[in-house]
């Protein structure tokens, strides 16, 4: 039982703790040695940029082991090798909770899906629609195989349109990015490293690039962190090096920008200009950052109404309005990891924004009709009857309408119940590069092939290079998303 007295005491400590975080959560809040008139340390050496060739296995007793997956059989054993052992481990396959797969050649491709589908079991599948009948949907995927999906198990579909003018999609490497020098008296500087479609930072690090940000912009990315989260995203910056906020006026000239600060304890936006006081536009919190370990971050900016909005996992967290006008003077972004914990950033995408907050797709389980939402906001209620590569046929009453896919924003099918349930022995939740996930009965992994069966997808073999992770046990933090937030 805590008395009021104790609460006061603990609140004091909590306040001190939060205060310290706010102080530290600036781009680079501590004066660096250069600003003190001393010789700055040399730029930290770049991490070795090599593919992660190691896989990691997590076992049911909590153990984890890096190495290389040689072969998986279920039922049976999993052979696991390392360079420092003489013979491979032969683990009981039923004791495996997770396998994280390292880089394999040719994982990145320019293949862009046009549609993302959500299945009743929580799977998310992206690809290009080949054909939809009353019973099946044929989907071409970048996994190398066409998947035949049961049409009555599709809950919703979201279209991705090329004409949205993607400004940036990646990361696909370090090319075009400028590594910054985070050199403070308090923090050990490091650099972002690129691996397998993602940026990683385990020490304080900065990376930036000019993108040509429009007046209305949407920036999305996936964040995963270990330890505390503390990252700052500079928006509309014209300066590619991190800015020491405590010493900003003595930094080389830079134009105004906004610093979106995402931490385990608070979310903040700062307006940063030289010769002007730092302006906090307001602080809020999200339990996702405090309690979770990963999130889908969606930032929307609108110069016309001086606003910056943050959505986390599809939920609007806060909309900040700068009453003094829009201060961003550049057209670049800068990602600054503050050094606490380590962070992985992937699926970064920037594109123009129409200023409209789209409602995320929902599962219309109680409805007997389907809902087709057009890009102009119109909504049609009826039944999806069939579709081709170019158009969808939608029945409104007895009338069939043909709607080209380029006009469609999303389709939400009615009456498709959730069948999401915990994994059974022998089942795996396979996470693919790009964000898709498939629930499969994994039978064998050997060589480059992953062999499985599935009541949804039948029996198939896919390239293991397309997979990022195999979960054999549901984990609270990485359970399938239920927020209906697609990750195109």
């Amino acid at each position: 039982m805590q008395s009021g007295f104790w609460k006061t005491t603990l609140n004091l400590v909590h306040f001190l703790f939060l205060s310290s975080l706010v102080a530290l959560s600036q781009e680079s809040s501590q004066p660096d040695t250069d600003s003190l008139g001393l010789v700055a340390d040399p730029l930290p050496s770049e991490p070795v940029i090599r593919p992660i060739t190691v896989d990691t296995i997590h076992l049911s007793n909590g153990d984890q082991l890096s190495g290389n997956l040689v072969q998986f059989d279920f039922p049976g054993i999993t052979l696991w090798d390392r360079k420092d052992i003489q013979t491979p481990f032969a683990f009981d396959s039923s004791a495996i909770e997770e396998i994280r797969l390292g880089d394999r050649p040719a994982q990145q491709s320019a293949w862009v899906p046009s549609i993302t589908l959500r299945m009743s079991n929580g799977d998310q599948v992206s690809g290009r629609l080949e054909h939809l009948s009353e019973t099946t949907l044929q989907l071409a995927t970048h996994y190398g195989k066409n998947l035949s999906l049961p049409a009555d198990q599709i809950q919703w579909a979201v279209m991705h349109h090329d004409d949205q003018g993607i400004l940036y999609a990646g990361p696909t490497g370090l090319q075009g990015w400028t590594m910054g020098e985070v050199n403070t008296a308090q923090l050990e500087g490091g650099q972002w490293a690129y691996r397998n479609g993602a940026f990683y930072a385990t020490k304080a690090a900065s990376i930036a690039r000019m993108i040509g940000m429009p007046d209305r912009m949407q920036m999305e990315f996936d964040l995963e962190w270990k330890g505390s989260l503390n990252i700052a995203v500079a928006l509309y910056t014209d300066y590619l090096q991190p800015v020491s906020l405590a010493e900003k006026d003595s930094e080389p000239d830079f134009g105004g920008f906004y610093s979106l600060q995402l931490t385990s304890y608070a979310v903040n936006v700062l307006m940063v200009k030289q010769k002007e006081p730092l302006q906090y536009l307001g602080m809020t919190q999200t339990p996702v950052f405090r309690q979770g370990q990963r999130a889908h971050v969606d930032v929307r900016t609108n110069k016309a109404d001086h606003s910056i909005s943050l959505l986390v996992n599809g939920i609007l967290i806060k909309r900040w309005v700068d009453q003094g006008g829009f201060a961003g003077e550049g057209n670049g972004i800068r990602l600054v990891h503050q050094g606490q914990g380590s962070v992985r950033l992937s699926n970064l995408k920037l594109k123009p924004w129409d200023g409209r907050f789209e409602s995320p797709p929902t599962n219309r389980v109680q409805s007997k009709t389907d809902l087709l939402t057009l890009r102009n906001g119109d909504k049609l209620v009826g039944r999806v009857s069939q579709a081709t590569q170019s158009a969808v046929e939608f029945m409104i009453g007895e009338t069939a309408t043909q709607t080209p896919w380029e006009r469609v924003e999303k389709i939400e099918w009615g009456g498709v119940s959730d069948t999401l349930r915990p994994l059974k022995q022998g089942e795996a939740r396979a996470h693919l590069l790009g964000g898709d996930q498939l629930t499969i009965n994994l039978q064998r992994i050997q060589g480059h092939q992953l062999h499985f069966t599935s009541p949804f997808y039948g029996e198939s073999a896919l390239e293991i290079r397309c997979f990022e992770r195999l979960d054999f046990k549901e984990q609270p933090n990485i359970a399938p998303q239920t927020t209906n937030a697609p990750k195109p």
Binding site: M1, Q2, S3, F5, W6, T9, L10, L12, V13, H14, L16, F17, S20, L21, L24, P47, V48, R50, I52, V54, T56, L59, S60, N61, G62, D63, Q64, L65, S66, G67, I77, R82, K83, D84, I85, Q86, P88, F89, A90, F91, D92, A95, R100, Q186, E188, A193, R195, Y200, T202, K203, K226, G227, S264, Y265, R290, G339, Q340, G341, S342, R344
Partner: protein, 477 residues
């Protein structure tokens, strides 16, 4: 005398003879016995290895040698696997022992190669030093290997070492997130846990803290209430977070007063550290060390108000995720481990006396509770040992040590504190054999060792990165 007792006694005598006859420092465990305290019956205590890439594996050691490596049986694997030593970081033997010795150690011996031993000084001469330990019996080495001897006024008394299970702790009522796993107390939410340690006039509480999320840990010393906060009773509380340590006094009728606060800079970007929290009734002093560096030095000017004898740990954040391990509770004589930079070291030995004098000169010998000292190397004086707190030996005499890069160079950490580095030879039955550059051939019973570190030079580089196992940025191994 029962048969069992007689057998044990005989065994002890044989061990002692082995110790003497072999000429090695084989552990005279029977004389300075470490008696195993069984954990929860039925709960298998496995050993654990940590690799330098962050991998961790439970299991059992089936073989260990400098040449062949470590042969390991994992409980979920059907085969034994042999690791070479190049990527091994640590072998946790998880010895659940209670150190019992007939004579309480009264010295802390620090050696120039980093070895640290708690024991008793038998004699020190111009060339050699003789000391006695519970785990290795009598050890002899050249005096040049010594860096420092601290004479512990109240001796080195181990009060507790663990954690050994959850049942020896008292858990807070209601929702309580504390659990016991892998010789650690772990928590992923809020909760209080504590126990009576029979504290009297001093304590040195040391523990490893490993965190995955930011933590707020409060440590209450000298309390009799272990399962909740209790401000009706005098106690002292340390609030620990990655950025701050705050120190408060709780006094009935007076309330709570913050006596000090220190900012912590050294934990930025880290996910584990070793804490040492010390309190001394007579001097009303309180000191916090993190990774052997003093972080906070506090004093209660009203005198020492706490009367309890226990310690409690409380997690303040629902989103906390951290673990306490390698808890060691000892008495503390109130003296600090003086930093070398505090002493002007050179070609002379430096004595630290109880009256704060620091005469320089040369220690000629220590015998019969007195020290013969050549003051400024000119004037011979003889001092009673009770006047000496510490001897810092001159650096010019000290043995220079080769860079410890060979994987077979290991450091064994003993139950009750202290560690020795040596070249690993073999593990035969229950005896770990090695060769020390300081002490020559060594042989210990493996159950006197809590853990063995490998690849000593790589420890500091990889220790903290181990938390980032899935984000390995090096192609390793």
């Amino acid at each position: 005398m029962s048969v069992d007792v007689a057998n044990k006694t005989l065994s002890r005598i044989l061990n002692w003879q082995r110790c003497l006859l072999s000429g090695t420092i084989a552990s005279c465990l029977s004389m300075f016995a470490q008696e195993s305290i069984p954990d929860n019956p039925g709960e298998a205590i496995t050993e654990m290895i940590e690799l330098m890439d962050g991998s961790t594996l439970h299991g059992f050691t089936r073989g260990l040698s400098g040449d062949q490596g470590l042969t390991w049986q994992h409980p979920l694997a059907s085969n034994e696997v042999t690791f070479d030593l190049t990527n091994l970081s640590r072998l946790r033997l998880n010895t659940m022992g209670l150190v019992r010795q007939e004579r309480q150690p009264d010295c802390r011996f620090e050696f120039s190669n980093g070895d640290l031993i708690y024991g008793n000084l038998l004699a020190l001469g111009e060339e050699s030093v003789e000391l006695e330990t519970w785990f290795g019996g009598q050890l002899n080495t050249h005096r040049s290997a010594l860096r420092r001897i601290a004479f512990l006024k109240t001796g080195y008394k181990v009060i507790y070492e663990g954690p050994n299970n959850l049942t020896e702790w008292e858990l807070g009522a209601g929702q309580n997130g504390w659990s016991y796993q892998d010789v650690s107390l772990k928590i992923k939410s809020r909760g209080v846990i504590g126990r009576d340690f029979g504290l009297k006039d001093s304590v040195n509480l040391s523990f490893d803290l490993k965190w995955e999320q930011p933590y707020q840990l409060s440590v209450t010393l000298f309390t009799d209430t272990y399962n909740r906060f209790d401000y009706r009773q005098g106690s002292y509380i340390f609030f620990l977070s990655p950025q701050f340590v705050s120190f408060q006094r709780v006094q009935p009728g007076t309330g709570v007063l913050t006596l000090g606060q220190s900012r912590i800079e050294s934990l930025n970007g880290r996910s584990e550290a070793r804490f040492s929290i010390r309190a001394h009734r007579e001097s009303s002093r309180f000191v916090v060390y993190i990774n052997d560096e003093p972080i906070g030095n506090f004093r209660d000017n009203r005198g020492f108000v706490a009367e309890g004898s226990g310690i409690s740990f409380s997690s303040q954040l629902s989103s906390s995720s951290f673990a306490l391990s390698n808890l060691l509770v000892t008495e503390w004589d109130g003296s600090d481990e003086e930093q070398e930079e505090d002493l002007v070291l050179g070609e002379r030995d430096v004595l630290s006396l109880v009256n704060q004098d620091r005469p320089k000169g040369r220690v000629v010998s220590i015998r019969d509770q007195s020290i013969e000292f050549l003051l400024r190397e000119e004037r011979a004086i003889r001092l009673p040992m009770e006047r000496v707190k510490q001897i810092q030996f001159n650096q010019t005499d000290q043995t220079t040590h080769q860079t410890e890069t060979h994987p077979s160079r290991v450091r064994a950490h003993f139950a009750g504190g202290g560690s020795l580095s040596f070249d690993l030879l073999s593990l035969e039955e229950d005896w770990l054999n090695g060769k020390s550059s300081t002490f020559g051939p060594l042989s210990f019973r493996s159950d006197s060792i809590r853990q063995i570190e490998f690849n000593l030079n790589h420890q500091s580089l990889h220790k903290d990165d181990a938390a980032d196992a899935i984000w390995i940025l090096e192609d390793n191994p």
